[in-house]
């Protein structure tokens, strides 16, 4: 695995467990992360933990409540609150794999990352590397209970498919859909929801 991949820091970890973790970032940093994107946390022992962004949440604080209840909010106050607010934007990440000694695994890491570890957005090369290994990591997404799985899949697969296509793997998306059908064929309703979401993507 190429350790010099083009990665962009997008936040720091707030809390974590093996299956998922949450990072916080400033509103000013919010332009980069997006739902379905592949992110990475590098642990001190060299393990890289990979995850997909499943939810981005902005919670209110006392000041926001006061401002919202006011008659009007001056532009500079609004901008100040957004950029200097006390509560960070929360980025929820689903763990989908890890890399160790240059080898990628589509399974949960032996231990979670630690708080304040940096969260990086993976570049296209890293996305191609991680998703090119196979489709085993998709099972982690399908296990999500409270998030819109179809939308996460749609966003992730469209990004990954584009990256793979540019890397020369035209059939990657097609195989991914086959894999998904295989995983979900016993669940008629859920599979149809997923396929409804993927309908717009070109095979």
């Amino acid at each position: 695995m190429n350790q010099t991949l083009n990665s962009i820091p997008i936040g720091k970890l707030l809390r974590a467990e093996n299956r998922q973790f949450m990072a916080g970032c400033r509103v000013s940093e919010l332009e980069t992360p997006a739902m379905g994107a592949l992110v990475r946390v590098s642990l001190e022992d060299g393990i890289q933990i990979y995850g997909l962004i499943t939810r981005i949440a902005i919670y209110d604080d006392g000041l926001v409540r006061q401002l919202v209840s006011g008659v009007s909010i001056p532009v500079e106050i609004s901008a100040d609150n957004r950029h200097n607010r006390n509560l960070p934007v929360e980025i929820h990440v689903l763990t989908v794999g890890y890399a160790q000694n240059g080898k990628i695994f589509h399974r949960l890491p032996p231990r979670p990352p630690l708080s304040l570890d940096a969260l990086y957005l993976c570049g296209e090369d890293e996305l191609v590397c991680f998703t090119g290994l196979g489709y085993g990591y998709l099972r982690h997404i399908l296990r999500l209970a409270e998030d819109p799985v179809e939308e996460i899949l749609l966003l992730h697969l469209s990004k990954a498919a584009e990256a793979q296509r540019e890397a020369g793997r035209e059939d990657w998306y097609r195989e991914a859909v086959k894999h998904l059908i295989g995983l979900l064929q016993e669940d008629y309703q859920r599979l149809n929801l997923v396929l409804d979401a993927l309908e717009g993507l070109e095979l």
């Binding site: 086959k178 064929q185 008629y188 599979l191 149809n192 309908e199 095979l203």
Partner: protein, 570 residues
């Protein structure tokens, strides 16, 4: 993997009793019921038949949903590919110990451990889950049905999907009675002619053909196409003898080699008793017939029929009337037989006495000639000509087959004693068999005895019929090899399959045969059941069988044949 060994699916379940199930991985249309498939699992190679194809779905809802209306065609196609599939029902028939992979150390060890019996055997186990299923190659078919040698191993058709040759072992075929069935127009007569041609060419057995419609001996034309159809006589010349029943009976435009006239002396009381039902004989007839034989020996029929019924003489002195010395009553009283019973029998035997082919002194001993020729390796086609009543069929076939039975039993007993000359196997071919072998008539003919007991005396039956359900069960159960074309009636299908294992699986195959040129081979004479596209009985067939000798006989051979001389080419 080459196209020949293309995997068509994999085993998903099943067993020996309920058939195996396999999931098809190619389009359903590429496989037909009856396809011969092969599976390699461990050391075993399994030879099996596809008996059914069923459309299945992972979930019934996928089958109900028209995905194409909901999704992009490519996506719909992917969804359908994975959620809808075809399941094959596979009837395992044979398995072969093929040992470990050739070239592996285990294989060398296996070979070194002793001579292996590599003949296929009936299945006793099943292939494991996910064993790949492939269509049989020509080599597989050859391993099971043999390689055509245009003699004993005779090609009767080809597999339907890939056209691999399917052969019949004629030596085995003649060892037990067999049957060829099919509705009118299904090609059973062509099939029968073809197999008879194979038997004659292979010199596997002599054949005696009771030809009800002059189809087998002389050339004829196809009832469907009007095309000319070669008969056995024109292709085999002197090897095949055409015999007409009664003086003047010929085979269409073709003269008979000789005519069969039966001497009164050849009729035994046993022949008459076998006609009890047809002649409506009473229970007393047996006693009367015995008495006739005791009185006149072999001349009983002639003497009896010469008697008068009701002939009386009057004593000129007393005026008392007594039976005349040439009357039935006179003879009956003399030997202590009921007069009415004797007169009744006399009246009933008049039906026979009037048959033109029954004569006191025939020109030649044609009946003996028939058995001699058959014993010496020739083949006889008997035409009934205009004598097509039930009584004619029964009487003549009974007389001939009784003679055959005696001759072959004696020959076999001789052979068992001195081990010198093994009797020539004989196949008695009965067309329209239900006329002679239905439930009512079977007891009156010797054919059920032939089917049941004569195998050990080298005589078997080949029955050809369109209504197998009308044939006596006891005869049907004795049939070793059954070759059936299309049959429409459920009872006929059941009759053909009676006594065979895997009937329910075979029933579907039999019911779905094409109306023409397809047949199912099954029974003892074939290693495993298999549907075939039957070989065509045409000029190409003759060229393949006889080589350059396929054209009709040249004039010299024809003349030699006409005078019963041996074939100059032989």
């Amino acid at each position: 993997m080459d196209e020949q060994n293309k995997i068509i699916g994999y085993i998903t379940g099943g067993g020996l009793e309920a058939n195996l199930q396999a999931r098809l991985t190619i389009a359903a249309q590429e496989v037909q019921a009856g396809a011969f498939v092969v599976m390699d699992s461990g050391n075993w190679r399994f030879y099996s038949l596809v008996t059914d194809l069923q459309l299945c779905a992972v979930n019934e809802k996928y089958a109900q949903q028209l995905s194409l209306l909901r999704y992009h065609p490519a996506l719909a196609s992917m969804l359908n590919e994975q959620t809808l599939y075809t399941q094959l029902a596979i009837m395992p028939a044979l398995m072969l110990d093929r040992g470990p992979e050739p070239g592996s150390p285990e294989y060398l060890e296996w070979r070194a451990s002793g001579i292996k019996d590599e003949r296929p055997m009936p299945v006793k186990t099943v292939p494991k889950h996910h064993t790949p299923v492939r269509l049989a190659t020509e080599e597989d078919i050859n391993n099971i049905f043999g390689v055509e040698d245009n003699k004993k191993i005779f090609r009767v058709g080809n597999t339907r999907e890939q056209g691999h040759p399917v052969c019949l072992n004629l030596e085995k075929f003649v060892q037990r009675s067999s049957g060829i069935f099919g509705t009118t127009g299904s090609g059973k007569s062509f099939l029968a002619r073809m197999i008879l041609a194979g038997l004659i060419h292979a010199n596997s057995a002599s054949t005696l053909i009771f030809d009800m419609h002059n189809e087998y001996g002389p050339d004829s034309s196809s009832s469907d196409t009007g095309a000319s159809v070669s008969g056995l006589k024109s292709k085999f010349g002197n090897k095949v003898q055409l015999v007409g029943l009664g003086k003047g009976t010929c085979f269409g435009n073709m003269q008979a080699d000789f005519n069969l006239e039966i001497s009164y002396g050849d009729i035994t009381s046993e022949d008459i008793l076998q006609l009890s039902q047809t002649l409506n004989l009473r229970e007393t007839s047996a006693g009367t017939l015995n008495a006739l034989y005791d009185s006149f020996n072999k001349k009983w029929f002639k003497e009896f029929m010469a008697m008068r019924v009701g002939g009386v003489e009057e004593d000129p002195e007393t005026g008392k009337k007594t039976p005349s010395s040439d009357s039935v009553a006179f003879w009956a009283e003399e030997v202590g037989i009921n007069v009415m019973a004797a007169e009744s029998l006399h009246g009933k035997l008049k039906r026979l006495h009037g048959r033109p082919y029954l004569v006191e002194n025939p020109d030649k001993k044609a009946l003996r000639d028939i058995t001699d020729k058959l014993m010496n390796g020739q083949h006889v086609v008997l035409s009934f000509g205009d004598f097509d009543s039930e009584l004619d069929y029964l009487l003549v076939t009974n007389l001939i087959t009784r003679k055959i039975r005696e001759t072959w039993e004696n020959a076999t007993n001789e052979y068992h004693k001195d081990k010198k000359k093994e009797p020539r196997p004989l196949v008695v071919v009965v067309e329209e068999a239900h006329k002679l072998l239905n439930r009512e008539m079977a007891s009156q003919t010797i054919f059920s005895t032939i089917a049941r007991e004569m195998r050990k005396y080298y005589v078997t039956l080949l029955i050809i019929d369109q209504r197998p359900s009308q044939i006596y069960d006891e005869v049907m159960s004795q049939l070793g090899t059954r070759i059936s074309g299309s049959l429409g009636d459920e009872d006929d299908i059941n009759a053909v399959l009676s006594g065979l294992s895997g009937r329910s699986a075979l029933r579907g195959m039999l019911a779905k045969l094409q109306p023409k040129e397809e047949a199912l081979l099954l029974g003892w004479g074939v290693p495993m059941p298999i549907p075939i596209r039957s070989r065509r009985y045409d000029q190409v067939f003759w060229e393949e069988v006889l080589g350059g000798d396929a054209t009709p006989m040249d004039p010299q051979r024809a003349i030699a044949s006409l005078y019963g001389e041996s074939d100059p080419d032989e």
